[in-house]
């Protein structure tokens, strides 16, 4: 892997590994239990220039791309996928502004995010609109200089902790996805409230809340791009962030494999370490190979996106699909290898298995990823025929 990293990327990787081991490892168990938000880690990541690693230098960031995002996310997730979300989900929330914001909007919102002073959150999902994102019902009706928002967003990561929300809203009723826009809404705006904190299976150190809009007035200048661009903004944002989810999955899987190998070397049964049994060895080999393959796909997708290619949906979806499935398999196998100990909360692998599951679900379920990939594969085939 290091053969392909620049010296700067290698430095980033080492620094993230150091922070993960020295600062995240000692608190991951406690935060998983309590669900408390890891503000200390946010501050540490900001002081180390990691929190804004993907934000351009002119807005106080490090100027890295998707590759740098993935390196940071993977290293941090090796130790805790939940705590890492305080960073990764903020990146998701910031990307609509990064991709479609005006210079004023970028200056206003990206600078404090790069400094770790404010967090961001992306708000698309609703009770009746998950995979069917086009069915969102939260409205934003124009009224003079403002939009008036009404509706509820569900399961928003960083909800309540973030200051800056990029919210996907319906500005025109009855026109399908063409009536959808994206607005920046600040915490504290009158009529913008939060629901209860969700009690989750995994990534429990990450905060997930409902967003409730009741006649919430948002200035028109907070519109990203133009009316009607909301769906496009969401899809382009996901194109950029899916490799990040994939990197999170690879990190979680690697952390689980590391624990499993360590355990297998130490645990003796039938007079020898269980690592000497082929059954275990075959499992470890499969786990390691799958992780390597997933990692290759993640950084390939990142490289393709960073190179400026326009059509990246397929490779991005592939990375997310494959890596998350690998994470679920590997963490399940890790629990199996640790046996009874693996099932106990005292040992870290059961948490990794609980954390891995969400990577198959959020930012587009793996079923949606498959429809995206299939759609592009079919288009490519049709295009080839036309040419040939």
């Amino acid at each position: 892997m290091s053969v392909f990293l620049t010296e700067e990327q290698q430095m980033l990787k080492e620094l993230c590994a150091q922070i993960a081991t020295e600062k995240i490892l000692p608190i991951r168990e406690e935060l998983d239990e309590s669900g408390e938000f890891p503000w200390d880690i946010v501050r540490i990541l900001a002081a180390s220039d990691i929190y804004g690693v993907y934000i351009p230098e002119e807005y106080g960031g490090f100027g890295g791309g998707v590759t740098e995002m993935c390196i940071a996310t993977e290293e941090l997730s090796r130790v805790c996928g939940g705590i890492t979300l305080a960073f990764a989900a903020s990146a998701l929330g910031a990307h609509p502004i990064l991709l479609f914001g005006s210079d004023e909007q970028k200056k206003k919102y990206l600078v404090p995010i790069a400094a770790g002073e404010k967090l961001a959150a992306f708000a698309l999902t609703e009770a009746n609109a998950g995979s069917d994102a086009g069915a969102i019902e939260t409205t934003a009706i124009a009224d003079g200089d403002h939009y008036v928002l009404n509706g509820t967003k569900q399961w928003i990561t960083n909800g309540g902790e973030a200051e800056t929300y990029t919210v996907v809203v319906r500005t025109r009723k009855g026109t399908g996805i063409r009536g959808i826009s994206c607005l920046i809404v600040e915490k504290g705006t009158s009529g913008f409230d939060f629901g209860k904190k969700e009690n989750k299976m995994g990534i429990r150190a990450s905060t997930t809340r409902e967003l409730v809009f009741q006649d919430c007035r948002v200035p028109k200048e907070n519109l990203l791009g133009r009316e009607g661009m909301g769906f496009l903004i969401a899809m382009r944002t996901f194109d950029m962030s899916r490799p990040g989810v994939a990197a999170q999955a690879v990190g979680i899987a690697q952390g689980a494999l590391d624990e499993a190998v360590k355990y297998a070397r130490e645990r003796e049964q039938f007079g020898q370490p269980i690592a000497s049994f082929q059954g275990i060895q075959f499992m470890l080999a499969d786990m390691a190979t799958q992780i390597e393959a997933a990692r290759a796909l993640v950084y390939r997708a990142a490289a393709v996106i960073d190179s400026g290619e326009k059509n990246v949906s397929k490779i991005s979806a592939m990375a997310k699909l494959f890596a998350s499935d690998v994470a679920m398999r590997v963490t399940t196998d890790a629990v199996q290898i640790l046996g009874g100990y693996g099932y106990m909360k005292e040992y870290p692998v059961e948490k990794m298995m609980r954390d891995a599951k969400i990577t198959q679900i959020y930012e587009g379920t793996n079923q949606i990823q498959r429809t995206i990939i299939a759609s592009q594969v079919i288009k490519d085939s049709a295009a080839k025929e036309k040419m040939g």
Binding site: E7, E8, M11, L15, E22, S48, D49, V53
Partner: protein
């Protein structure tokens, strides 16, 4: 204001082993780190500098050692120190704490106008805690050791020196040398921008010829002491536990120990 931090590059002793045949430390393949106590000294220097305000103080990190010590100096630069000086020369090699103090003191004198010298309380490989005090004596400046808090005001410092049962509050006139303990602060992590700057930074290098130093007092030949042997003490047998009430066991203990003490056993 000029603040100098003296650091030492040491093997990461959590990983070090003793070669059973030669009875010396096995250093190959053992990663080198900045002496942990020195990281607290670096952090304190940075905090003092930050408290005084932008551009008021300059923090210089200095170390004596072979060329590879450069990596330790760059680590310090990545944390935010302004300048790094490496004292390196074959002539410095093999130095004990005296010769090391002589060399470092000469380095500080060459730097000139130094107001504060910070050191970690001791190095984790030598564990003598002698170099800080040695340098202070040679520079003829006051020293406060085992410090857990420093406040600088103008040309005076007030420091809390840790004792076993509490702490002393000591006022000293600058220039002054301090050795610090872990309780003093929480060292920061490097930043990406810091690491990148450190990679390209220039490190000032001085050899024996560059320093105003008595060549008879540096290096192996200038060392009045020598490490003859390093060994793991042999495991003693477990000993014997006398069980029972003190009024029974104590007389028995005395009866058995007395002949040993008298040399009769």
């Amino acid at each position: 204001m000029k603040i100098v931090v003296l650091i030492k590059q040491v093997p990461d002793t959590t990983e070090v082993r003793i070669d059973p045949e030669t009875n010396t430390l096995v250093r190959e393949g053992v990663p080198s780190i900045i002496n942990p106590f020195d990281t607290y000294a670096i952090e304190e220097a940075l905090r003092i500098s930050e408290k005084l305000g932008e551009g008021v103080a300059e923090v210089v990190v200095m170390s004596m050692g072979p060329p590879q010590v450069e990596t330790a100096l760059r680590e310090a630069l990545a944390l935010g120190v302004d300048e790094a000086v490496l004292l390196t020369d074959r002539a410095f090699a093999g130095a004990d704490t005296w010769a090391t103090s002589v060399t470092l003191a000469a380095g500080i004198e060459k730097l000139g106008d130094v107001d504060v010298v910070l050191c970690g309380k001791q190095a984790i490989d030598g564990d003598t805690a002698q170099v800080g005090p040695g340098v202070a004596c040679l520079l003829d400046i006051p020293q406060v050791t085992y410090v857990r808090k420093i406040d600088i005001e103008g040309d005076t410092a007030v420091a809390e020196r840790m004792m076993e049962d509490g702490y002393d509050v000591v006022r000293a006139k600058l220039p002054c040398l301090f050795t610090v303990v872990k309780e003093i602060n929480e060292p920061r992590l490097p930043s990406l921008k810091g690491k990148m700057k450190a990679r390209k930074a220039e490190i000032t290098t001085w050899g024996a010829a560059d320093l105003d130093v008595d060549h008879a007092q540096i290096g192996l030949d200038g060392s009045p002491t020598r490490v003859v042997k390093i060994f793991s003490p042999e495991q003693r047998s477990e000993g014997e536990v006398l069980e029972g009430e003190p009024d029974e066991t104590v007389p028995e203990l005395v009866a058995r120990i007395l002949p040993v003490l008298k040399g009769e056993a």
